[in-house]
Symmetry: C2
Subunit: 590 residues, 2 copies
């Protein structure tokens, strides 16, 4: 069936939407693929929905290929299973909650570990039933604090989520590997650049976990990669603690007046001016910065936390959030300082910190702060700092916290070279959950010796609607969208440019012949100027277009390739064969 632009429910926009922060959002709206219905909630127009379904098809084919079985669970879910797993509380404000007419508590499912666990418990009871992988492609909900970037971070979105069930860890590893391979095939077919990185498990729980990130300057995630092949989300980087240093010959700590040095920069300047060291200038890396935050637990209780880290690094708030989750970090306010009079703001040092010291505040330090390291740090009196304060001699922290920012050039934890930083969009996440949910919900099977064992699970997600945006993000230019062939809404857009029936008739005949040959055709049959049609075909981004217009008198049409921008005049008589060849993957126009 040929689609005619004169009938297609679409309007391209000449202006960027006001709220568009990223190219994919801008172009998907301007090209008439999606429309905003509410913050973080979008309607799919005909072109957009075709792309979404193409992505779904790819995901479905690859999941079926590894023997995962498709099911479909509700989005409206009762509270009880999520209460049993603890996630009803853990999700906090991130989940949409509601009550039914009988005052029963429900949520809109953000992910379905609990429901799948219960479903398998309901049906299966023996190791002979396993391994099992189930998946669904389903609408999910998350009440994001800051929905943004169109489909990239929405509140209603489509995900493929799958779950594996195995009787032992070896089985789980195999299920995980099968999913990983399927994801590689999915993302290869979607055709964007991606990396697979180590990731944190976060609220999901479990041990091993990897993310598939689409490489994109606008991505929300930052990842690191080394020449030797190490790759991780910054949240998952574990800094390797250096060896302890000997400090037998270290001088005793000595306090100096350092007036007006509340920041690291002013402190370093002051030290270099007033207390220069012989071997080299002081740098921020010589200082120990003590950062205070309030940690709010799920039950609402707040407790202060002091983080000591080298002064040349900031606390990375996302790394901190990942470490604290499900608790959250909040700002340590002026009121909080009032409540802790032993803290000298701007001059806080280890002497006041720690469970055993004057403030009683829990004090955790960066892994680099090992025994024997010497620091310039606050002396806990306004206008004074202490020098040569030795870790392990002059102070002992309550523990270690690995939340300092990762910098370009930092060594990879596995010794594989200096890290490079880049940004990406989380497109897939695979988890070895282990037994967390099976234990909470009682999913056990009889093993081969007749003993009840708890099932071990994996959970695997692909952002299906997000993938539409991620592909668009990686494949648009300054003129519009530019779809890879496998997920484009149509293979070919035919433009009838020029007046008179001859042009429209020839274009329509060509469309019919291509349609009969199995090519998905969008025919621009509108009574619009060639300029409008040329602009729209660029915005809308079909991989191939054919211009039926001026050349028709000579029996020629123009074949265009959206990605390369190349074009070629070919005889109309050869057009069907040529286009069919192009659509089926033979060399395009250069």
């Amino acid at each position: 069936m040929i689609t005619r632009m004169s009938e297609l429910f679409v309007r391209t926009l000449r202006e960027d939407p006001a709220d568009a922060e990223v190219p994919s959002h801008r172009w998907l709206v301007r090209a008439g693929y999606i429309r905003r219905a509410a913050p973080g909630i979008y309607s799919w127009l005909p072109l957009g929905y075709k792309v979404l379904r193409n992505v779904e098809r790819i995901v479905r084919e690859e999941m079926d290929a590894i023997g995962a079985q498709e099911v479909h669970l509700p989005a409206l879910l009762p509270k009880e299973p999520y209460e049993a797993s603890g996630r009803w509380a853990e999700y906090g404000a991130n989940v949409f909650r509601l009550k039914d007419r009988k005052d029963g508590d429900y949520l809109l499912g953000p992910t379905h570990e609990e429901m799948f666990t219960l479903l398998v418990k309901d049906l299966y009871s023996s190791y002979k039933d396993l391994p099992l992988s189930l998946y669904q492609i389903q609408t999910k909900y998350r009440d994001e604090a800051r929905p943004r970037a169109g489909l990239l971070r929405g509140r209603e979105f489509v995900m493929k989520d799958s779950y594996s069930f195995d009787v032992d860890d070896t089985g789980l590893q195999k299920s995980y590997d099968r999913h990983r391979d399927a994801y590689i095939r999915i993302f290869n077919r979607l055709g964007f650049e991606y990396v697979i990185v180590h990731a944190t498990s976060g609220a999901m729980g479990g041990s091993a976990s990897e993310e598939f990130l689409a490489v994109a300057d606008n991505g929300e995630d930052t990842f690191v990669a080394s020449p030797g092949g190490y790759a991780a989300n910054v949240e998952a980087v574990h800094v390797i603690a250096p060896q302890p240093l000997p400090y037998d010959h270290a001088p005793a700590a000595h306090v100096h007046d350092t007036p007006d040095t509340p920041t690291i920069a002013t402190l370093v300047d002051h030290a270099n001016a007033q207390l220069p060291r012989a071997d080299r200038p002081w740098t921020a890396a010589d200082t120990l910065k003590n950062v205070l935050v309030m940690v709010r637990q799920l039950d609402g209780t707040r407790e202060p936390l002091a983080i000591g880290l080298p002064g040349d690094r900031e606390v990375d708030l996302r790394r901190l959030a990942a470490q604290l989750a499900p608790a959250e970090a909040e700002v340590f306010t002026e009121d909080d300082f009032v409540d802790h009079p032993s803290l000298a703001k701007g001059y806080i040092g280890p002497s006041a910190l720690g469970r055993e010291n004057s403030s009683g505040i829990r004090f955790l330090v960066d892994p680099r702060v090992v025994t024997g390291t010497r620091w310039v740090t606050g002396a806990d009196r306004a206008g004074q700092h202490v020098f040569d304060l030795v870790c392990g001699r002059d102070f002992i922290a309550d523990g270690v916290i690995d939340v300092a920012e990762i910098k370009e050039g930092d060594p990879a934890p596995d010794g594989s070279g200096p890290l490079r930083l880049a940004r990406g969009i989380e497109m897939g996440h695979i988890f070895q959950l282990g037994r967390k949910y099976a234990e909470a919900l009682g999913l056990k099977v009889l093993d081969s010796r007749g003993k009840l064992v708890t099932v071990t699970m994996g959970s695997y997600g692909v952002g299906v609607s997000r993938a539409v945006a991620a592909v668009a993000e990686g494949a648009c230019d300054d003129k519009g969208l530019c779809w890879p062939r496998e997920i484009a809404p149509y293979d070919v857009q035919i433009l009838a440019t020029g007046k008179g029936d001859a042009v429209l008739n020839a274009a329509t005949d060509l469309a019919r012949e291509l349609d009969a040959a199995g090519v998905a055709v969008l025919l621009d049959d509108r009574k619009a100027s060639p300029g409008v049609k040329f602009a729209d075909v660029e915005i809308m981004g079909m991989p191939t277009s054919v211009v039926v217009g001026r050349g028709l008198a000579e029996g020629m049409v123009e074949l265009r390739d959206r990605r390369s921008g190349g074009s070629e005049n070919i005889p109309l008589a050869e057009a069907v064969a040529r286009i069919v060849a192009v659509v089926h993957g033979r060399p395009a126009i250069d």
Copy 2:
């Protein structure tokens, strides 16, 4: 790809689920197609989801065929559009409502008239853009007071909803007719018995509306049909008022003591014993029954209503609900009687009823209560009734209300003969909405003369998940499900019955060959007894099955047809050709 029962995520149950009220629910659960997740909320297992997707495919193909364009709108919707149309209030407790983290009001969409109206308003502005038909296949929500019968009345369900947009009424009629034709094709393909009946528009608004009902003894809807082709949901039957009668020679009304006659039956018995009429016995049809209800408006205000109807008929509560909507009828309680002392319970008559009379209660009568009709009815004093009370002479009602039950044999309103009553399941509903939503939300376009005109709309629904149950309901027997070929999860189920590799190998080879020939095969390769496999194949309901077992030694297999119960032994060598022929619709086994 062959599916193996040894791996398929399914368990058939030997017992009926406790909450199963209807066969479709019982068998869909027992055969492992669906599982209950919460009241009125179901999970689709692999077999069930295949059926659901087959129904979706049929619906999609037929909607595409009439040029409707597929879109996909959110399920989580902001309050504002529904407030503008008045439905935020009208839906009452039937809609799931929730707040987001910013205290914004949302609902889970039960139907999307408002959102589609806004979407078209957003993109279109000229009569040249119309006609337009859009549709979606989407998960919808309704907080039913009594979810029941499995998928037949759920709280989360899949619907196809479409919406037509036209510049004038002629256009709307065409769009409506096109949808009607598409629905006929859809329901023919789904293969159940259905009727098309006149229907009420209810809260949806608009004028013409028809329902497609699957004929089913367990259906919630009652419809009527006449030999002459009239068909309507009972809610939509309009009783034709008879001609007024002359009453010049009617005797004056006369009151009699009728002790202990609070019911129609006791009254008729008393009248025949004590006050016999000459021509024939008194019947309930001679009495005027006055029924009191309280009407609760959306704003919570309650007002009494008296309904006068012939004593041989009850008030049909669904017809009453349809007439009152969005207001609701509630019981007239003892307390309400206390508040209205002029009402003599059991002996209420028109003298006390009506705005102008002692109770001041609004008094509406059945259309049959026309001027000149004479009634035996309450005299508004305990133990007394009045005879020969003439409508139009002795009392005048405040209006007419058409809510009496329809009885088998009642005349069709169009004179096409006596009505037959039957029950059905609402599978589709088509509405000529007119301009209700376009007016409320400001959807106007420029007409051909450059004048702004309000668009006229239609709305059209198919219960997609409900169709799975409706098909099952119409096509199961006492052994299990029995799918029509077009929506069966698999074409053929192959049973390997018998020990030894030879049987399993032959069955697997047959499965492979059929799979290669494009037949969807489920291979029962389990280490289970033939009895278990025979029972499961009946429960699960694939249209065709093949038994590879005892006959194999002679090179024979058994071909079975689920619907007819017929079976035939055929040579294994001919099995592929035979089964391919059966699957492609050539005569099955008899």
